[in-house]
């Protein structure tokens, strides 16, 4: 097997390879160290972080669905200060890029988070705009172009770190939101977050999740994610990190072909903790077999077919 180039330059954020792990599914990386050679990952999006520590939702927090799962963790996390002081020192010397996923309920939350993180040694910020905007009656920031753009602008004003904005799929036209956040100054777009879903226990006759509704992830949502990556790739000029149901190298390649410059693996880590390493190996093999020298060569190939 000849050597292929796997490094990707995401508008300034350089990854040693395009395989990253999705926020909320890989902890802070350390949790998977028995299964994964962490230094071989392109990047780790750490668990969604908020200004204050959060206890999260009551249990049950997850439910299994056909080829998918629902989660309503409720952003349990120790807060950004704890992250900076206690966790970051342990991961900052890793080869992978440390990307901090931030969540807030007001634009100020996001701005303050960015200001705090701007002074640290993290590699990028991922803005989770799927959170409810309390000032707008709980409507998620990511569902309206102007709200999404305001969040990005507020964060942009606080930091020169590479900014990734993570889009919510629960919208009519994802390209509209993508264009708005591009204009607002995000360097990169990641997509998709979870679809809103529910499962009901027919014996207890109530929703399984304590929170009633939760986010649908896993293979079930892959077709929606591929479609959105394909649409957004045509609508913006900035790089994309694609995710949603990626469980095999074949899935990952679908995303590259659809227009993703890098990919992120979420739920599949739970099913197979070694999946990221398998995808990495499989990706090299695919590129070799198809006579590519560089992973960037396949990005968006299905777009102009």
């Amino acid at each position: 097997m000849s050597k292929v180039n796997l490094t990707v330059d995401l508008n300034g954020l350089e990854l040693q390879n395009p395989v990253t792990t999705a926020s909320g599914t890989f902890g802070f990386g350390q949790e998977y160290k028995n299964y994964v050679d962490l230094d071989k990952l392109g990047g780790v999006m750490v668990k969604g972080t908020t200004l204050q520590p959060k206890k999260g939702n009551p249990t049950p927090r997850i439910a299994e669905t056909p080829a998918g799962m629902l989660n309503a963790i409720g952003l349990q996390n120790p807060g950004v200060d704890y992250f900076i002081e206690q966790i970051l020192p342990e991961i900052k010397d890793k080869e992978f890029k440390t990307i901090v996923n931030i969540s807030g309920n007001t634009i100020e939350d996001y701005a303050k988070l960015a200001a705090k993180l701007a002074k640290t040694e993290i590699d990028a910020i991922e803005i989770n705009i799927s959170c409810p905007n309390v000032k707008k009656g709980g409507l998620a920031f990511g569902t309206e172009a102007d709200m999404a753009a305001s969040v990005v602008q507020a964060v942009r004003a606080e930091t020169s770190l590479p900014l990734i904005t993570k889009l919510s799929p629960n919208v009519v036209d994802i390209t509209e939101i993508a264009q708005a956040v591009e204009e607002a100054g995000t360097d990169i777009i990641s997509l998709i977050n979870t679809l809103l879903g529910m499962k009901i226990d027919i014996e207890r006759q109530e929703p399984i999740l304590a929170n009633k509704v939760g986010g649908l992830s896993g293979p079930a949502i892959k077709p929606v994610a591929v479609r959105m990556v394909y649409q957004v790739a045509q609508a913006v000029d900035i790089p994309l990190i694609g995710m949603g149901g990626i469980s095999t190298v074949e899935d990952a390649i679908e995303f590259f072909l659809a227009g993703a410059n890098a990919i992120s693996v979420g739920t599949a880590n739970f099913v197979n903790p070694e999946v990221t390493m398998e995808i990495l190996a499989g990706l090299e093999e695919y590129l070799n077999e198809h006579d590519y020298q560089d992973v960037n060569q396949i990005v968006g190939k299905a777009m102009n077919s």
């Binding site: 998977y32 299994e64 080829a67 903790p273």
Partner: protein
Amino acid sequence: MAQRVIKEIIDQQKIGPGYFKLVIKVPEIVAQAKIGQFVHIKWVAEDSGADPLLRRPISLNRINPAEGTMTLVYRVVGRGTKVLSKLTAGDKLDIMGPLGTGFSISEDTNRVLVIGGGVGIAPLYPLVNELVKQNKEVILLLGAESAEEVIDLSSFEEFDLELKVATMDGSLGREGFVTDYLAELEQEIDYIYTCGPMPMMKVIRDWAIDSNVAGQASLEERMGCGTGACLSCVCQVKIDGKDGWTYKKACTAGPVFPLREVIFDE
């Protein structure tokens, strides 16, 4: 160090109504396994697609380092365990383990009460075995729906310990709840271990608090990753501090928690 391996099943037997016992050779995992730990498993079949998707956590019922084998005992309750129950020798299982923080045994305890209910009896065998080996005085209370569901009964009977059984249908031992024995305990005890249905453990916890006896309880919660990454498996545990409790991960800090600190869905 926990790891992931894919291995063939050596044997699987039905041992009661909906109860199965599965033996698998995984020396890598067995060598490190401690009592009260669990494995996170997934069947591997030719047509295994993405449905069902997730792994299933199952406690270690027998840990045999000499042979490199472990035994899992489980009850069929849903789709995943149903699929599992159909596997036979030669079929493959994908196993992550050993996982979690199991039971710990203190030198200071002497007279120890162990209470198991239903399939919650499964993880107690290695515990009782160790307690007996350490010459503790063990009082073992087992509860189940019926005689057939008292896991490992004959094995427990071989130990030198005080064994009492309660079944809901009265087919073995006393008819009723295993916790009914609590009021009749004749001797003071130093420590309690328990695993079983939540209502049972709640009664035991309240009794432990009243009787001022420390102990450990093994809990169950839905698990995503099994490695501490996803925060789906959290349990409410009392702590000193602002709110008086915190969420702890059953897959790493647990599944065994200090009995009197557990808050059961209250």
